[in-house]
C-alpha cells in the first residue's frame, strides 16, 4: 500500500487555485522531492499532506487513511501517528533543552521516554548536546534535533520543508547526509526544496508550477 496517495486534489481560495487536480503517489521507502518556484503551491500541498489543511476537493490517503473526511481532531491524531515534520525554520521550543524538545513530541503522542529520546539524539550525532538549549546550538545542530524529533514516534512518512534552506554549506552537507542515511534505512521521505542539487539526490523528482504537477525523472 502506498504511504501517500493524493487523487485529484484541488485547493481553491475563491477563484484562485493553489492546487489544481493534483495527483501523487508515494510508495514505502521512496524519497520524493517536490520542486518549484515560490507561489507554485508547494506550501499548500505540504500543509495538506501534513494534515494541517484540507483540500477543497479530491482525496488524500495517508497510510491508507482517508483524511478529507476527518474532523480537525482526527487530523491531529493522524498527524501525530503517521507524520514526522521537519521545517525550514527548525522550530524548536526555545526554553526547553534539545532532549526535552524531542520528548515534547513523545508527550503529545503517548509516553515520554528519556532513554529513547537520548537514543534518537545519538542517531543524529548530538547525544552530548542533550542538555543544551536551542540558543546554544548552531543552525545545523538545531535542524538535526528537529530530525531526531521527527523520527521519535516512528512515523510512516517524513515530511521535510526546505530543510536546508536556512543552513550554511557545511551544515547543509551534514543534514543531507542524514537524510541519505534515513533513506537507506528505509524511511519514506517527501521533501520540498527549491535547491536543484538537493532535489537531484531524491529517488524521484516532481515539479509544481502554478498548482499543477509536471514530472521530471
Amino acid at each position: 500500500m502506498n504511504i501517500l496517495e493524493l487523487k485529484n486534489v484541488t485547493k481553491s481560495y475563491g477563484n484562485v487555485h493553489a492546487l489544481k487536480d493534483f495527483n501523487l503517489s508515494v510508495a514505502p521507502g521512496e524519497w520524493v522531492s517536490i520542486m518549484g518556484p515560490s507561489g507554485s503551491g508547494k506550501s499548500t500541498m505540504l500543509n495538506i499532506i501534513g494534515c494541517m489543511d484540507k483540500p477543497t476537493s479530491g482525496s488524500v490517503l495517508i497510510d491508507g487513511i482517508e483524511v478529507t473526511t476527518r474532523s480537525n481532531k482526527e487530523l491531529t491524531e493522524v498527524r501525530r501517528e503517521k507524520i514526522g515534520l521537519v521545517f525550514q525554520q527548525f522550530h524548536l521550543i526555545p526554553h526547553l533543552t534539545a532532549l526535552e524538545n524531542i520528548m515534547v513530541a513523545q508527550y503529545y503522542h503517548s509516553l515520554t521516554d528519556e532513554q529513547e529520546a537520548l537514543k534518537a539524539l545519538e542517531r543524529v550525532g548530538l547525544a552530548q548536546r542533550a542538555k543544551h538549549l536551542p540558543s546554544q546550538l548552531s543552525g545545523g545542530e538545531q535542524q538535526r534535533v528537529c530530525i531526531a524529533r521527527a523520527l521519535i514516534n516512528y512515523p510512516a512518512l517524513i515530511l521535510a520543508d526546505e530543510p536546508t534552506g536556512n543552513l550554511d554549506e557545511d551544515n547543509e552537507k551534514l543534514v543531507i547526509e542524514l537524510f541519505q542515511e534515513l533513506h537507506r534505512e528505509g524511511h519514506t521521505i517527501v521533501m520540498v526544496t527549491h535547491d536543484n542539487e538537493v532535489g537531484e539526490l531524491a529517488q524521484r523528482r516532481v515539479r509544481l508550477e502554478h498548482g499543477r504537477l509536471t514530472h521530471i525523472a
Binding site: 491531529t76 525554520q89 522550530h91 521550543i93 526555545p94 526535552e100 508527550y107 503529545y108 515520554t112 524529533r149
Partner: protein
C-alpha cells in the same frame, strides 16, 4: 521522566523563560493579591479593633439601684460582685459614682466620689490640666467651676457637705474639661466622699466600659439585673447602636474596595497573559503541528497560570501580611493576627484570578492555525 514530570517541566520552563515579562505581571498580581489579603486580614479584626477604639467614647453600661428613688444607693460590695459577671478581657474599665451637694468658697456645687484610675479608663476623653490625685485629700475640679471659684491648680479648697455638715480641706491638683456637667463638679477619692457624705460602703451609680455590640450588652445587662435584683443594669444604647452602624459601614467599604481591586488585578493579569499568548504563537503552532490537541494546549496554559497564581498567592500573602501590619499599627496601634484561613483563601483566590485571566488567551490559542503560523515569517 514521566508524562506528569514532563508536563511540570514544560510549564515551569515556559514561565522561567520570559522572566522579565512574567516578573512584572507577577508583581502586579502580587500587589493586587497582597492588598486584598491585607484587607481581608484587617476585615476580620476590624470589628474587634475598631470596637476597642470606639470604647474611647466612654461608658456603655450604667448600673443604678433597682428602686429608683431620690438618694437611693447601692452597696459597693455588690458592684464588685457584678464585675465578676463580666469577662476580664472585655472590661475596659469602670468607676463607681457617689454624689453629694456641697458648699465651698460661698458657692453651692456637686461633689462626686469616684475611682480615679477607673475614670481614666472609662472616660478617656476627659481633658486633664495638671495631675490626677495620688492621695485621698487631693481633688480634681471641673474647669468651669475652677473659673467660677477663681481657683488654680495647687490651691486648697474647703468643702462642707449640705446633708451631713462635715467639712474637708482638700487640695486641687488638676482641672478637667469635658464640655458637659463634669465641668461644674468636683471629684474626690471615693472613700473620702463616702466619709464626707456619711455613706460608707455605698455608691449611687457605676459606669462601665465594656467591649461588645448592642446585642451582647443587652444580654449582659439582663444577666446582671437577674443575678443582683437590687441592681438595674442599663446599656447606654445610643453609643452601642451607633458603633454597630459605623463598623458595618467600614466593613462594607473595605469589602467593596476589595472587589474593585480584584477586578483591576484580574484585568491586568488577563491582558498580560493575552499578550504572552500572542507572543508564543509560533510555539503554540509548533505544538499543534506536533500533535497537541486544543485540550492539551489549554491544559498547559492552565498549569502555567496555576503556577503563576500559586506563586502570586504565596508572595501576595507575605505582602498582604506586611500591609495588614502597617494598617494595624498605624490605624489601630496593634498587630493583626495571622490567620491560616486567610492564607488559604488568598492562594485559592490568586489561582482563580490567574485562571479567569487565562480564559480569553486560551481561546485565542485554540484558534491558532499551525500551518499559518509555522510558514509565516
Amino acid at each position: 521522566m514521566t508524562k506528569q514530570a514532563m508536563y511540570l517541566r514544560m510549564v515551569t520552563a515556559a514561565l522561567k523563560n520570559r522572566k522579565s515579562r512574567v516578573a512584572i505581571a507577577l508583581l502586579a498580581l502580587v500587589l493586587g493579591i497582597g492588598v486584598i489579603s491585607g484587607l481581608l486580614s484587617v476585615y476580620n479584626d476590624i470589628t474587634l479593633k475598631m470596637s476597642k477604639e470606639l470604647r474611647s467614647y466612654g461608658a456603655n453600661l450604667v448600673l443604678v439601684p433597682a428602686q429608683q428613688q431620690e438618694g437611693s444607693t447601692l452597696k459597693l460590695a455588690k458592684l464588685n460582685r457584678v464585675l465578676e459577671q463580666v469577662p476580664q478581657e472585655k472590661t475596659i474599665g469602670y468607676s463607681p459614682y457617689l454624689y453629694g451637694i456641697v458648699t465651698g468658697n460661698k458657692q453651692r456645687f456637686v461633689a462626686v466620689g469616684v475611682d480615679f484610675s477607673g475614670i481614666q479608663k472609662v472616660s478617656p476623653y476627659w481633658r486633664l490640666d495638671g495631675a490626677w490625685p495620688s492621695a485621698d485629700n487631693q481633688i480634681v475640679m471641673g474647669s468651669a467651676l475652677a473659673e467660677q471659684l477663681e481657683l488654680n491648680v495647687g490651691q486648697k479648697l474647703s468643702i462642707t457637705a449640705e446633708e451631713t455638715g462635715k467639712t474637708e480641706s482638700l487640695q486641687v491638683v488638676g482641672t478637667v474639661s469635658t464640655g458637659s456637667t463634669e465641668d461644674y463638679q468636683v471629684f474626690l477619692e471615693l472613700k473620702k466622699a463616702q466619709g464626707l457624705l456619711d455613706k460608707e460602703g455605698q455608691i449611687h451609680t457605676a459606669y462601665l466600659s465594656i467591649m461588645g455590640n448592642s446585642a451582647e450588652l443587652i444580654t449582659l445587662a439582663e444577666k446582671i439585673s437577674q443575678a443582683e435584683p437590687d441592681i438595674k443594669a442599663n446599656p447606654i444604647q445610643q453609643i452601642a447602636r451607633s458603633e454597630g452602624v459605623i463598623l458595618e459601614k467600614i466593613r462594607t467599604l473595605v469589602y467593596l474596595v476589595v472587589i474593585v481591586i480584584l477586578a483591576s488585578t484580574l484585568l491586568c493579569v488577563s491582558t498580560t497573559m493575552m499578550a504572552m499568548v500572542m507572543e508564543r504563537r509560533k510555539e503554540i503552532g509548533l505544538r499543534k503541528a506536533l500533535g497537541a490537541t486544543n485540550r492539551a494546549i489549554a491544559g498547559e496554559f492552565l498549569g502555567e497560570s496555576a503556577l503563576f497564581g500559586i506563586t502570586g498567592g504565596v508572595l501576595g500573602s507575605l505582602v498582604g501580611w506586611g500591609i495588614a501590619q502597617i494598617i494595624g499599627l498605624s490605624v489601630f496601634k496593634a498587630y493583626i493576627t495571622f490567620r491560616p484561613s486567610v492564607l488559604m483563601a488568598v492562594i485559592i483566590l490568586s489561582v482563580l484570578v490567574a485562571w479567569v485571566a487565562v480564559i480569553m488567551p486560551v481561546r485565542t490559542a485554540a484558534n491558532i492555525d499551525p500551518a499559518l503560523v509555522l510558514k509565516g515569517e
